[in-house]
């Protein structure tokens, strides 16, 4: 009896930090935010329960268009990150051995020693009208006047992919590392070419890494604020920027909270759809 209660106490103590973290930092604020999103101001300091905030999102085209745009851009950014990271990861995991491998892997990590804010300013220094690229183009005679490379969607995309690379490379290198070289050789030996070996052997093996990397990158991109705002400028039309505006500029916490929950619902929905499409389960890819 004493043993049982002491083990139970031990289990409780071990779980306590996790439970505290979950309840105090995630569940409570979200529950409160959800309540905020469901209320409507009818008079100073008087609120009523209503769905007005959600209704406003659907009735105002700017809101749901920004919402859709953010989702589509995030999906494109995730796909681009995957396309760029896959060869990089394959090279690191399968082509290199020993020291060089660790070195290149570390090289992917290096940019993350600098804060995202500083890195984003770095991009601005490179791309702005009076920036490095603009001057270089003029000096080479390729441009007549200053070229503004900031504040467009392509730049936002570059920034998002750059920020996300590591989170795709790490799971990909891990899964590709576990692919036995014999499997690839067997694929060739039985008559496969580079494309069919990639499609039938390498990608199916790497699928858990592809899916978990894509989920992480998609979530990070969808919820990114710094990159779209800094590189996209005032008209970036990113949904997190809308949420920021509601909370800080317009002091409309009710609408901001509703937006927050819509974003949560959207990311959950897209991740679920992605898992269904790739026939993976969350426990498989994260485990």
């Amino acid at each position: 009896m004493t043993l049982k209660s002491s083990t139970r106490l031990g289990l409780f103590l071990l779980l306590a930090p996790l439970l505290l973290w979950l309840v105090m930092l995630i569940i409570l604020p979200h529950a409160d935010m959800f309540m905020v999103s469901l209320r409507e101001k009818i008079a100073p300091r008087t609120y009523a329960l209503s769905l007005t905030n959600y209704a406003e999102f659907f009735s105002e085209p700017l809101y749901w268009r920004t919402f859709t745009r953010t989702a589509v851009m995030s999906i494109i950014a995730t796909a681009l990150t995957l396309l760029i990271s896959f060869p990089v990861s394959y090279y690191i995991a399968k082509m290199l051995r020993g020291r060089m491998k660790n070195f290149l892997f570390l090289l992917c990590l290096v940019p993350f020693w600098v804060s995202e804010l500083v890195r984003t300013f770095g991009w601005m220094i490179l791309l702005r009208e009076s920036g490095v690229f603009s001057n270089a183009l003029q000096w080479l005679g390729l441009a007549d006047g200053p070229v503004e490379m900031l504040y467009n969607d392509a730049t936002i995309m570059v920034g998002l992919v750059y920020t996300s690379m590591l989170f795709m490379v790490v799971p990909l290198v891990t899964t590709l590392d576990s692919l036995d070289d014999e499997q690839v050789e067997a694929g060739y030996d039985l008559g496969g070419n580079a494309f069919s070996v990639l499609r039938t052997i390498i990608i199916p093996h790497a699928m858990p890494g592809i899916v978990s990397g894509s989920i992480v990158v998609f979530m990070l991109t969808l919820g990114n604020y710094l990159t779209p705002v800094f590189l996209g400028g005032k008209d970036n039309l990113w949904f997190t920027a809308q949420i920021y505006t509601q909370f800080i500029t317009r002091f409309n916490w009710e609408l901001g909270a509703a937006f927050g929950f819509l974003l949560l619902a959207l990311s959950s929905l897209i991740v679920w759809a992605g898992l269904k499409l790739s026939r993976q389960t969350l426990s498989e890819t994260m485990g």
């Binding site: 036995d180 014999e182 499997q183 050789e185 067997a186 694929g187 060739y188 030996d189 039985l190 008559g191 496969g192 070419n193 069919s196 039938t200 052997i201 199916p204 093996h205």
Partner: protein
């Protein structure tokens, strides 16, 4: 090796492979006739895997030529070579079913669906897994995986099947069973097999021809019986089968044989073997098989044997038909491994028993010792 390659499914000519300064494969030539079960036997690191990988196209010779069905394959990539490989860890594709694994190569060849289905079905039947087509690879036993890996190659009807120690991962009992099964499969599919292994019993049991390889070179190519009874070099004598071994110096050499004084002082009469001629003063290694030594309690029965030793029984290693006796030479203290006859005559032998040993001149083979005395242990 004859230069005429028309009867060879696979031939290597003066094959050399250097890794930096190190010659992994050093001027190897051989031909494998149609339908042969050819083994390359050698200790790990001797270069046998390199040869196999060069034949499959995953490695490239520094010089020399590889001919498949009489045509040079040097510039043919692995996926176009008409040879297939069974990998050491089999390399079955875990994300595909058994049938999809077998169909993999056929799909790559662009055959139509019904032909593929027919071929897969007949292959599954021939490997005794007719109902396992939809199974996952993980559901198969070790021996079944083995058969699927082989069938996956054989449906492509390759000129030769290359096997890279595929039995290494199996437990002993299954390995013995698979030896017989592999031999049966080879008969059934009538395909040339090239099998590499470090396990002499695998090579001897299954092969028509065995090449013994050491340090990048072929020591001898021959039938298993040839290698066992007429080893061409000291390495082959030591590596294939078990042997009692002495190192010594030739005292006298003539037509009938050589007289050798071993390093521990025993006088031995032996037959000269190997390419190098033996003369007085040559350092030699002498090999005597455990089953060539006659054991007796009566010294008179050994009177016609050229070599005789008195000894004391240390222990009996009873193993049914393969029972051995370990005997200490009374004069020198050296230990000898002697096969116990099956008659049960010696079933009463006990530790400490005084026994007499004898063996004929022909049973003792003397090879000129190589510069580095081959101390490599004969594998069990």
């Amino acid at each position: 090796m004859p230069n005429n390659s028309q009867n060879f499914d696979l031939e290597c000519r003066n094959l050399v492979r250097y890794y930096g300064q190190f010659a992994a494969v050093d001027d190897v030539s051989f031909g494998v006739p149609q339908g042969d079960f050819f083994s390359i036997l050698g200790p790990s690191g001797c270069g046998k895997t390199t040869i196999l990988r060069m034949m499959a196209g995953f490695d490239h010779p520094t010089s020399g030529d590889i001919l498949i069905k009489g045509k040079s394959a040097l510039n043919v990539p692995p996926n176009k070579r008409p040879v297939n490989m069974v990998f050491q860890h089999l390399a079955l594709f875990p994300m595909m079913t058994v049938a999809e694994n077998i169909a993999y190569g056929l799909v790559r060849q662009g055959l139509n669906k019904s032909d593929i289905a027919d071929k897969v079905k007949s292959a599954l039947g021939r490997i005794d897994l007719p109902t396992s087509g939809d199974k996952n690879i993980k559901q198969l036993s070790g021996g079944q995986k083995q058969r699927v890996a082989i069938a996956r190659c054989l449906v492509l009807e390759p000129a030769a099947l290359l096997l890279d120690e595929p039995l290494g991962a199996l437990d002993l009992k299954l390995r013995d069973h698979m030896k017989v099964e592999l031999k049966k499969m080879q008969d059934q599919f009538a395909t040339t097999f090239i099998y590499i292994t470090h396990d002499q019993s695998e090579a001897l049991v299954m092969s028509n021809h065995v090449a013994v390889m050491n340090a990048g070179k072929f020591e001898q190519i021959g039938s298993p019986q040839d290698l066992y009874y007429n080893p061409a070099t000291a390495f082959v004598a030591g590596f294939v089968g078990d042997s009692n071994r002495w190192h010594g110096t030739v005292e006298r050499a003539d037509q009938t044989g050589v007289k050798v004084v071993s390093s521990d002082g025993v006088q031995l009469l032996a037959t000269a073997a190997g390419q190098k001629p033996l003369s007085a003063g040559t350092e030699v290694d002498i090999f005597v098989r455990p089953e060539s030594v006659v054991l007796s309690e009566d010294p008179a029965r050994l009177s016609d044997m050229e070599n005789r030793i008195d000894g004391e029984l240390i222990s009996v290693l009873f193993n049914g038909a393969n029972s051995r006796a370990l005997i200490r030479d009374r004069a020198t203290g050296g230990e000898l491994d002697v096969a116990l006859p099956q008659t049960g005559e010696f079933s009463t032998l006990a530790k400490g028993h005084q026994v007499h040993l004898g063996w004929g001149l022909e049973q003792a083979k003397a090879f000129a010792a190589t510069s580095a005395p081959s101390s490599s242990e004969a594998p069990a």
